[in-house]
Symmetry: D2
């Protein structure tokens, strides 16, 4: 195991050295980022406010409003309500390439337990009308803040670059429908065709680092709702019931064998049952049980195999219970793998190494999380690259790494305790976006 | 297995013949019940209305109001709001024994699926503030209606009996706290001390039958809420989590071994997990899972053994998952066994046999359901007896019995499809209450 | 639950008192048993020798030889090799009823761990050619010894009784084929038709007690071998296998739900997987797994239901594993319920009570063990009764009973630590057989 | 996932091109291998004979005898009985490097089901005295045959190379103790110190191919025997038992969660329970159950984590069953990872590519199997490399690959149906050994 082992952890040593340093990008980036110190306090304030006001997917009205207002101030051409709550800003700055930078805006139905002074106490109502506590447990607030910071700095130094900058604030990444919604809402007609689409995601890696990877970087993800039909009865008369609680438990237990037995050791895959629901009291055997589950895979063969195994197991366990009705499978979301194109990724890696040094410009391992980012370049017909942004206090991270307790001690995305450190996370997020975009937008001498 | 085998099913053959017929009771009952034909239609209407207006425990305001109003009309001394929503009516009718007849009034958080024209579409809010569909899925509407019918008939023919009749309408039987609440609210001070306390319960047995049993008739019941503490994480990174969904599933699976392996074949016991709840989406491993479970037993040794096994298994499965926090156990309700006193039960059985014949006056098997009825005689210091009332269309029942599909085809109490036939259920419920009470209240020749 | 609760434990209180004492039997028994003191030491020696020389079913050559030799000495007409290794002795003693007394002779493939000075170290080879340690773990050595004692005493006091005594020593009770083998080998042609067939079994109840029961006393038993077909592979490549170890484990786990969920609390049933076998090393996933399982039930409906559930679960779990071949089910043995006829059982109970007193003549609960004894009266066309014989030191038993640890501390039949106390077990076993047979054979005054 | 994904499958595209062709080696190899046609028939005969006469570890007397005889014929200095049954042959051929070539000789306790005309019907007795069918299910017969072929060809053309050739035939690789035994038996004193130690293993990859890999190539392996202590009882009285069959099943089921939940998707690991054993009949609950299990891992952190989880789960499941005795853990074998040194691996890869072409000189993925080969270079203080040798008919393999059914249709090592095709497997095995050794032993012009 080399670079495949560590999930989001970095393993710099395994990467080929960048083809060559990129002094032009580095120099342009230095110029643009000179203003970072002046806006840092404002960005941090914006971030904390946003963290306290998380919004569920397709409900990012407040967030989108703030974004649009800011982009307008900085003279972007702004289009709102693209794919319901998405926002696009375009800044034309002479001839040159077009670069799209993307941030996602939505939060999660998680009750925040970080203990942060700016922790969220917000609630939101999901599409089924159920109210939940809501938290930016996946760090999209970091993404929005950093992209606004980069947008502002690039807008303030149009002398340092040329071409067209598109900043895109996407709704509802979490269930995989936001990028698609923007594409379906005519995204390609609303912006110039990008030469490259770029995005980043904060991860449980050391803050101050960025992590790139060519090829498949993030997993495909399939989410299903499975409804199991038993037969209810009084809790004291199980013989009159087909107990859906026991059935659901057997399904969950049996599903563990998919990854443990049906996939080779070297094929990464995950089957998670994130939710199990049946009954409402101790003493009534309910009629049905509902599972919500998620499958991660990195190639189509594994994906097909795992999804088939899930269906086979659910169906057979229903038969083992003597269930009368067939189980129901409902697809909740589907994400493809995030597959970074070779050329832009190499270019960005070179720019990052030139600007941040080898210690901070790392190579990513496979990340089992998923993204709908890929829908944007797919819809726009352009290449793309997506990188990771460290969000954990470096000392804390390194200590846990030495103790071998990263998995245990470092809360990851979607945890109710996921808490990126404000700095250097935000600074590095801004720097990465600026640097990467300038790898296209920095004016080059002819012929270079 | 003879009479122990069939749960609520009747097995007349195994009962000792009643000591002697009881012509005095039979004759008085005939007189009182002569009026049944006149009130039948009114009772049926009351029943259907009540069925359409079910109320959760301690919220039986509408039901209690109708009850109190009717009792007042019939000249009972009425006390309302005993134990929150309980109602007592007392009818003094000269010297003689005091008989208490009890009905429970509360409904269940079940979405009715009977398809009856008078099916409930009501909802109610439980003590946690959660709204549920509500249904009279346990037949308490039958109990209330029959007791009102008996109260009316007995009040209209005070010439046919002597003594004191106490009719008691109890709230919140379902979670086992209503009878206790009435006792704690001074029940013993509010009524004369009964010579006997009587009650009945509609069961999935042929309508038109009654089922008596001396000694233990219904199970002890212990309901627990168990909270399992795992550790949440992104669904794609199970290695960072302690998955409470898998833990909960393992607990449910393991709990099956308690009855299957730790209790002798001839010791009746049930462990039902009626509710399992964890997570809210496919892709976030939650922090905790919650089980609500119920244990049925018929003697203290089995009860102790099963409850200890439940705790041992839950605790050990948490350890197997490497869970950090201890599981939490919360007692939701406790019911003792329903233990019918020998003398009153024999007396009632004799009266039933004399009035209804051997074919309809059956002996009950052990009933795995539970009751808080026993709290009333315990709180009042009097003997008691409790019998079953068939509620299923006799033809349907017999057909299922011959096909061996009773358990499958006859919805039982607490099922969303539990639907007692209106007649002869209501008639028989009234007749049983009248006949049983007259076994004490019918005037007897001196010396008999 | 009263008399159904206690498995083999006695519950004297629940039995109807014997119709009437039986002074004739008691007096004849006293006469015959007067010689017990003289043969006690010899019987004890025989018992310990037999215990040290256990033989598997249909291999009871040494035991049968000793039995035949002794019966010949006492002037019985002896027939050997009935049903392979069975022995019959007939003693004609004038006109009168014919009574058959039966003992079974075979031992079990269990490694004795009693620590007794006369513990077995014997081995034997089963019908598959596999060698096992062998032990009288079910107490058949007690049965043989007691029946020889009774045979000797009755033969020595032919003045005290009249009629015909048939003593029958049966092979291979354990897998249910020995009684059938004797019947098939012409048993009915070899002996006079008995008026009654009697047998006894030593149980984990207080030594010195006997336990009778009318009607169903012992369970039906069905033993199956289930072969599960997976697909083998190197242990490191589970994805190339269909793991039969995991499949077998899931089947075992799922089978727990049959008793826990599919049978009512008051229906006694047991599903035991006594053997699981798959693979031979840590690192090769084998092709198949084999389970041997046993189902106990007390009525045909439960038996049918449980056996159907076992098949459904096995088949469905194979499907859940994606197994290619169908599972195989092989019936290893089938025992019917042991159903004691009313009249002879009452007669014996009365005789026992008259001779031993109420404290030692107890009523049995349902015994979940099984017997092929019933094949004999079925094959001979006579009524029958079968009783239990306590084998545990009474003080030890009572102490465990008070502590509620009988199940834990008192090794039961088939345990490697099952160790009946020699006395008063043997004495009582002889006395019970003599007394019960004299309830028919004691000369009665005309008209009685 | 690129080269990590495929287990033993080849993925040529992911390998860096060899630094440079190696015409010297290629030319020397051509000379030596010119004789292959003459010995092919003899080798094939030897192979089939060996396949029919498999011997368990440390019992390879016949095999070792044939090997020693042949080496003696070809003028090797032969030492027998090194590490019990190991054989060493040394051929001095002037100045130059020393190369050690290793083959392992032992077979497995598997009943062959290949249907081959030369299938094994042999049996053998393991160290516990139990007899098993025995089969060369891991292809060590291929290794022995190919090494003998290479030894013969190199001995017949000493003009084509110079230096010292050591051929080593190792016993008992399967349980990981054979290489260690040779080292402990003074291997380093018996042979000149090698410049490199080389070995190969036949794998389910296309015959005619070789597969090299730098760094970790094969898994660490830990095999354990786990004994679970329950309490036996009659099968009808589970309440008197602590059922070790159910306990063992729960352990097996729970162990599936280790790989499924406690290891990241991108960390390869395997937990296989290869054997489960409890009880001997349907109706006696046994006292104990025994599992044999194997853990595969590729780095120490994963290894530690998985082994700790196994212990935690076993111990907790015993507690969940209320088991009285602690479970016992016995280490059966331990293999470290097979870690190929960079320099020799590159050298061999270059030589293979030069001789066999890119299509047949492939790069290996991680192989989840394990090897004790590494003990030899560790004990001798020399670098090493180990490669894979395809053994499956190429057409069959490619067809299965296209159909995505390799895992299903191509029996792998340790399967009872593992059947390498004789050719081109043997030819390629000989060619690979000759070619790789000549990468050191081919005479080079000065300064090259």
């Amino acid at each position: 195991m080399t670079d495949d082992a560590g999930g989001p952890t970095a393993s710099g040593g395994s990467r080929e050295p960048a083809d060559s340093a990129d002094p032009v990008t580095a120099s342009a980036a230095e110029a643009v980022l000179a203003g970072l110190g002046d806006i840092r306090e404002s960005l941090e304030g914006f971030y904390k406010d946003l963290h306290q006001h998380p919004e569920l997917g397709f409900q990012e009205h407040r967030t989108a409003g703030h974004v649009a207002q800011a982009l307008n101030e900085w003279d972007y051409e702004v289009t709102e309500e693209v794919g319901q709550t998405g926002v696009i800003g375009v800044l034309h700055n002479g001839d040159g390439p077009t670069v799209l930078l993307r941030a996602d805006m939505d939060a999660l139905p998680v009750r925040e337990q970080t203990g942060l002074p700016y922790a969220s106490t917000a609630t939101g109502t999901d599409s089924d009308g159920v109210e939940h506590p809501v938290m930016h447990a996946c760090g999209h607030d970091v993404h929005v803040t950093c992209l606004l910071g980069a947008a502002r700095l690039l807008a303030s130094r149009t002398d340092a670059w040329q071409g067209t900058l598109v900043v895109l604030f996407q709704p509802n990444e979490e269930n995989g429908s936001g990028a698609r919604a923007m594409v379906d809402d005519g995204l390609a007609q609303r912006i110039p065709r990008p030469d490259v689409a770029l995005g980043q995601h904060v991860l449980p890696a050391p803050a101050g680092c960025v992590l790139t990877r060519s090829g498949v970087m993030m997993a495909a993800s399939d989410s299903l709702r499975v409804t199991l039909h038993g037969r209810g009865a009084h809790g004291s008369m199980p013989e009159r019931a087909i107990d859906p609680v026991v059935l659901a438990a057997m399904v969950v237990v049996r599903l563990q064998t998919v990854v443990a037995r049906e996939i080779s050791a070297t094929t990464p895959a995950v089957v998670t049952v994130g939710s199990i629901r049946a009954g409402s009291g101790p003493n009534i055997i309910p009629d049905t049980a509902e599972l919500q589950l998620n499958v991660r895979s990195f190639d189509e063969e594994a994906r097909t195999r795992v999804l088939a195994a899930v269906r086979r197991i659910v169906t057979s366990e229903c038969a083992a219970s003597g269930a009368e009705g067939d189980p129901e499978f409902e697809t909740l979301s589907e994400f493809s793998v995030t597959d970074n194109d070779e050329e832009p990724t190499s270019r960005i890696a070179a720019a990052f190494e030139a600007s941040f040094g080898r210690d901070r410009a790392l190579t990513a391992g496979l990340v089992p999380a998923s993204e709908d980012f890929g829908e944007l370049p797919a819809g726009l017909g352009c290449p793309s690259s997506y990188w990771g942004l460290g969000g954990i206090d470096p000392d804390t991270y390194r200590k846990a790494e030495r103790a071998g307790t990263v998995d245990r001690d470092i809360p990851s995305n979607h945890s109710s305790r996921f808490a990126p450190v404000v700095q250097p996370t935000l600074d590095m997020g801004v720097r990465a976006l600026v640097t990467a975009s300038l790898a296209w937008l920095a004016p080059r001498p002819k012929g270079s």
